[in-house]
Symmetry: C2
């Protein structure tokens, strides 16, 4: 199969490595000549160009640009693609993208590989990035079944765990477990930094250990990515934040009231509820 | 030296292993006969008893009971100790303990080894638990310098990093980096569990990955310990929670207003500020 990849960063580059290893012909498009050259040198693609006409013979195209550029990229590509070409994306928010792109192009399947790590860029690309990780596909009523089947077959060949759901369900779910934690965690760092007694702040810095490190990890991540999640999944992120604030306020109330029994019970529910979100894929 | 340990759990047991290895005579006191027997069998202590009179010849006594029992335990011990015996504790909150115990016994030095892990009980005791970890000592104006020096010498022999500070500064610092994260993290689990669309909750459970796991780890910990931290460090925990809530509200406001530039700047400050709380001791 001829597979196009637009955007040759961590995700696009890693896709290229796996798909080439399977014998597909991989065609890369990047905004920068230098990235095209590096991608060919690293063996991430068979050929690369800054011009979308390279994709004229592509059967399937993965859009791996930042979220903000997905719809406009598809729009630019359309005149250059064959009439039967199937397009999919890897954006971490789905409803607004699927809404925008499916109007431009019927043969579109929304996708979200949950396989990022703290690195980015073509240099970070690696084989088997998707193995064992969730990869969500978000077909809608108008998605052609053949397009979905073709994308799903490729995704399964990456050894990813495929899930299907509606774009809105995807956005609500990742709002809870991926986007909300970023704001919760960032607020914790911000709060600690606000301590204005320098001796206490110094002491806190020295005493902070694995608990603090883990709780603040996602809040200390890529600021642009965090902003984009909130921007494109704004409704769900706000909904989850308001719910979170209620849960936080309940804890504050219990501590203010000195209702230690209620506090301990609430912490027990938390301890018991957490493992259902963890599974073998994390270990 | 004859060293007494009251409370033979993870901390008390690990202290016993290290101190015996250095040639001290270690005397253990536990509420349960079975624990005394197990401690002798495991080589954690030279002798153990449920009766505090075992400690009549102790030069230094470590109180390793749960926070709630520290002051009452010291009160029970006093009639059995020699007049020169030095007492120290390992409670994770210092001001209320130092306040209560220093009235009972002048020869008292508050201490807090920050070396716990997710396990507990004598079975979890291990050598070198304290090596490289912070160990805070909280002397006050009335603490006899000889008592402080003796405790500090023992703590240094465990290869711990010793810090000195006022009990109130300790409690404020650990409020930020240890107690606040528990409530922040537990609230996140509670919020996610509140999703009442079962399909979304199921999807969230399947998609949750390392980011969710890390952000919720301390919130899913021992409920009794979490409650005790809030109970004994109530003032500082509430102060930090109210500050946290303000930082959270600022993020919510930025997202509601769609002020993406301010949001990204705030996330940049978080990303830049976090590393000052991390150090070689965590890796």
């Amino acid at each position: 199969m001829n597979i196009g990849i637009v955007g040759l960063g961590l995700i696009g580059g890693s896709l290229g490595l796996d798909l080439r290893a399977q014998g597909h012909r991989v065609l890369g498009v990047s905004r920068r000549e230098q990235t095209c050259k590096a991608a060919i040198e690293r063996g991430v693609v068979d050929d690369a160009s800054i011009k979308p006409k390279l994709l004229a013979e592509a059967d399937v195209v993965f859009i791996c640009t930042p979220i903000a550029a997905i719809a406009s990229t598809v729009n630019l590509l359309i005149p250059h693609l064959s009439a039967t070409a199937i397009v999919t994306d890897v954006g971490s928010v789905k409803a607004p993208i699927v809404e925008a792109v499916s109007h431009l192009l019927p043969n579109f399947v929304g996708g979200h590989p949950m396989a990022g790590n703290s690195e980015s860029g073509l240099e970070a690309a690696q084989t088997d990035l998707f193995r064992g990780k969730p990869y969500v596909l978000t077909p809608i009523e108008t998605t052609p079944p053949e397009a979905l089947n073709t994308v799903e077959e490729i995704v399964r060949s990456l050894q990813a765990q495929v899930y299907h759901c509606h774009p809105a369900d995807h956005d609500r779910a990742v709002g809870w477990i991926s986007h909300l934690p970023v704001i919760v965690s960032a607020s914790l760092v911000a709060a600690c930094l606000s301590e204005n007694d320098y001796a206490v702040l110094e002491l806190a810095r020295k005493l902070a250990s694995s608990g603090f490190r883990d709780t603040t990890r996602v809040g200390g991540g890529n600021p642009e990515l965090g902003m984009m999640m909130a921007r494109y999944n704004r409704g769900e992120v706000l909904r989850s934040l308001h719910q979170y604030r209620q849960n936080l306020d309940r804890f504050i109330f219990q501590i203010e009231q000195g209702d230690w029994e209620a506090l301990e019970q609430q912490l027990q529910r938390t301890q018991q509820g957490r493992p259902q979100f963890l599974s073998a894929k994390d270990s």
